[in-house]
Each structure stands twice: as structure tokens, then as C-alpha cells.
């Protein structure tokens, strides 16, 4: 099954300002990324920033990565290399992102600006990272490679909320749509 990462939308009429999503895989490696940038800024500027990040992530060459750790490093490098001017009025300092990487040995997650991460399998939500976990750091692009959490479960779909999400819990009802995932 394809690896998927979703970021819950912000409550309101326009929940997905500056949201981006990307996923790719080859025989050995997979990644899925979901995030948002400049979510409180101008809609058009945020949109351009989000598309810039998507195209940057699509440029990461999986074949050049030895394993999921190398892939994660490549993803962070790609995100960090984007010019701050392309990421809205805060230059990427408000970036919220969930990165999920997988190889034959396991699955790891990392991120920035997250308020919680859940595994979403067979219609059930199970917390992966909540409360005071060190993975739940502040928003923005990291100055050094952040930590990675290796999952002890087989998870294909991970759902995150941003650090400023008003109620950091999730409900299963209509969850896909609330994450901007539509048929």
C-alpha cells in the first residue's frame, strides 16, 4: 500500500491555505510529506510557496538514497535549500511539515511544527506522537537535522495536526476531507 501523510486543515472557510503534499516511491524506498507554509499570509503567495515545496520534493532522487535515513536527510536538505523569499512573508519560519520515510527495515517519521501524529489504519486512529514528545517541536525549517522516530507499527497512513491546531485531537468522521484528501 502507498505511504501517505496528511496534515489536518485549519478550522475555517479556507482550511488549506499554503498546504502541500507529496509522495513517491521506488522498489526500495518510499516517502510521503504533508505540510503547510505561510498559512496566515496572502493566499496566492502561500499557494506559490506550497507548490515550490512540492516541486522541490519531487526533485529528490530516491535512487541516490541508500536507505530511509538517507532519504530523510535528502528531503530535509531539499526543504532547507528553498529560498526563503519563495516561502511567504515569514520565509519558511512558519513551516509545518510531517515527513514519513520507509525502507525494507522500517518506517520513520520526522517533522516540524506538529501538535500530534496519528496512525490511521482500517478506519481507526491511534496516537503515534502526542503531548510532550520531542518530535513535536516548533515550526520552521530546522537548522540541523532533527530527530526521527522509528515506528514500531506498520503504518501506511499518518495524520498530523499543526502545533496551533485549536483542539489537538482527531475524529474519524470525515477525516479525509478535513485533511484536504478528496476523491
Amino acid at each position: 500500500m502507498m505511504l501517505a501523510a496528511y496534515l489536518h486543515g485549519t478550522p475555517g472557510r479556507l482550511p488549506f491555505v499554503g498546504h502541500f503534499r507529496s509522495a513517491r516511491s521506488n522498489d526500495a524506498l518510499s516517502f510521503a510529506v504533508a505540510g503547510r507554509v505561510d498559512a496566515r499570509g496572502d493566499i496566492s503567495v502561500a499557494f506559490r510557496g506550497a507548490r515550490t515545496l512540492e516541486s522541490t520534493l519531487l526533485g529528490v532522487k530516491l535512487a541516490d538514497c541508500a536507505d530511509r535515513h538517507g532519504l530523510l536527510q535528502a528531503l530535509w536538505d531539499a526543504i532547507t535549500a528553498v529560498d526563503g523569499f519563495d516561502l511567504g512573508r515569514e520565509g519558511g519560519a512558519d513551516l509545518v511539515v510531517l515527513l514519513v520515510v520507509r525502507d525494507s527495515e522500517g518506517t520513520g517519521i520526522a517533522g516540524a511544527g506538529l501538535g500530534g501524529v496519528w496512525d490511521w489504519s482500517e478506519g481507526e486512529l491511534n496516537p503515534v506522537v502526542t503531548n510532550e514528545h520531542p518530535l513535536l517541536n516548533g515550526p520552521g525549517r530546522p537548522e540541523q537535522l532533527p530527530g526521527v522516530l522509528t515506528l514500531d507499527i506498520q503504518s501506511d497512513t499518518l495524520v498530523a495536526v499543526a502545533h496551533d491546531h485549536p483542539v489537538p485531537t482527531l475524529q474519524r468522521t470525515d477525516l479525509a476531507r478535513l485533511c484536504g484528501v478528496n476523491p
Binding site: F16, H19, R21, S44, A50, E54, C179, V181
Partner: protein
């Protein structure tokens, strides 16, 4: 001059009604009498305009629209405007116009619009409040009420992206695509793709594809192309279509 100046609105309401009806029958403008009544006793005025024994003459009701502030002091706006329309359907457009200007953010205006404009509900309301901060909120309310043709027409008239985003949020995807193109025809720089993505999610490609049957102009297609470059497969398809379009 007021024909009721010497009458007491509390005591002589029946007589006042009679005199006004005589004035109307004689073709005399009731405006002075109405102004007098509005000044002295707005409740009596409301009784004669929208009460159980209201004077149903259209000239009287039209004159009453000039004293709408006095009438609103006596009756909740929602019921007041409905009653005015009920008493004189031929004044519906004027009443709706007044309602949307005085109450651009009121939720009941959405239903009132439907009652008066039918399939085109929302045009008067949204056009009137296009520069008001409540424009987006009202677009969402009309979209939730299913006023699709009205929202498309508003996109066409204003060039705003909000109608398309509102339709997207309500799941009216074909109408949303139509509204995107309608907005671009008026305002080629309207941020329709960004707005729809903000409402729908970061991958609005299925909606973008629905815009294609509505493309009539190369100029609009180019605007859409410029906004869609973040979606390579769609923009590649659109590029092919643009190359096949004649210059306009």
C-alpha cells in the same frame, strides 16, 4: 401636507387608515402623511404598513421603503421584509435591494434571496456586498443553500475567486469550475486556483479538469495555465489545448 396632522395615532388609527386610503384613491402622494406618522408614532406606521390590517396599495408600500429605519424599530427585519414582499410582490426587487444594503451580513437574507430571485438567488446580495468584509461569508452561505447559478453569475460580474471556492467547499465541483472560468473572464488575475486549493485541499486537479469544457478564450486559458504550473500533468494538458486554440 399631512392629512393626519390633527389625529392622534394611538386613538385614531382607524380614522388615519381611512384618510390615507382616501388620499390614495384620489391619487395624492401619501409621503407627507407617512413622514408625519413615522415621526410621531413608528408603531402606528408599522401597523398601517405591515400590520394585520395593512394598507396594501403599492404606492403606500413603496413610500414606506423610505421609512424602513422607523419600521425596523417596530418589527424584526427578517419578518418585516418578508411581510413587505408578501403584501406587494411587485416590490420584491426593491425590497431585496434594500434588505441586502441594510443587512449585508444577515443570514436570513440568503433565504429571502431565494424567495425573490429563485434560481438566480445571491446575485443581488453578493453584488451589493462585493466590497464588504462579509462577501466571503455570504458566498459560503449561498453555496451551502445551493444557489449555484447565482454564484456563477456573481463570479462573472465581479471577477472574484470566492464564489468558486465557496462552491468547492459545498461540493458543487462542476459549478465551481464554471465559476473559476467566469471569474477569470472578468479578472484574468483572480487567484482562482489558489483560492480553490485553499478550500479543497492541495491537490485540486479534479476540479481543474472540470474547467476545460468551459474554456472559450485563449486569454482565459493562459491565465489558468499560469496559475496551474504547480500541477505539471494538468498544465501540460492545458498547454496542448492552448496551442490548439485560435487567438482571441
Amino acid at each position: 401636507m399631512s392629512a393626519i396632522a390633527n389625529l392622534n395615532p394611538r386613538r385614531d388609527i382607524g380614522l388615519i387608515r381611512e384618510r390615507i386610503e382616501i388620499q390614495l384613491a384620489q391619487g395624492i402622494d401619501p409621503q407627507d402623511s407617512m413622514a408625519d406618522l413615522a415621526l410621531r408614532n413608528p408603531i402606528a406606521l408599522a401597523d398601517l404598513v405591515v400590520g394585520p390590517k395593512a394598507i396594501g396599495d403599492v404606492r403606500w408600500l413603496r413610500a414606506a421603503l423610505k421609512h424602513i429605519a422607523s419600521l425596523e424599530e417596530s418589527l424584526a427585519p427578517n419578518g418585516l421584509y418578508r411581510r413587505l414582499i408578501g403584501l406587494s410582490p411587485e416590490l420584491s426587487d426593491e425590497v431585496l435591494d434594500l434588505a441586502v444594503r441594510r443587512h449585508p451580513t444577515a443570514s436570513w437574507v440568503v433565504e429571502l434571496s431565494r424567495k425573490i430571485e429563485g434560481q438566480s438567488a445571491g446575485i443581488t446580495h453578493l453584488t451589493a456586498c462585493a466590497a464588504h468584509p462579509a462577501f466571503a461569508q455570504n458566498c459560503w452561505a449561498h453555496a451551502a443553500a445551493g444557489h449555484l447559478p447565482g454564484l456563477i453569475e456573481v463570479a462573472k460580474r465581479t471577477g472574484r475567486a470566492e464564489p468558486a471556492a465557496a462552491l468547492t467547499s459545498s461540493g458543487h465541483l462542476d459549478a465551481a469550475a464554471f465559476a473559476m472560468i467566469a471569474a477569470l473572464e472578468k479578472m484574468p488575475n483572480a487567484p482562482v486556483v489558489a483560492m480553490v486549493a485553499a478550500a479543497w485541499g492541495p491537490q485540486p486537479v479534479s476540479i481543474l479538469h472540470r474547467t476545460l469544457p468551459h474554456l472559450r478564450s485563449r486569454k482565459v486559458a493562459l491565465s489558468l495555465f499560469q496559475q496551474s504550473t504547480g500541477y505539471p500533468a494538468f498544465s501540460s494538458l492545458l498547454d496542448t489545448i492552448i496551442r490548439a486554440m485560435v487567438h482571441s
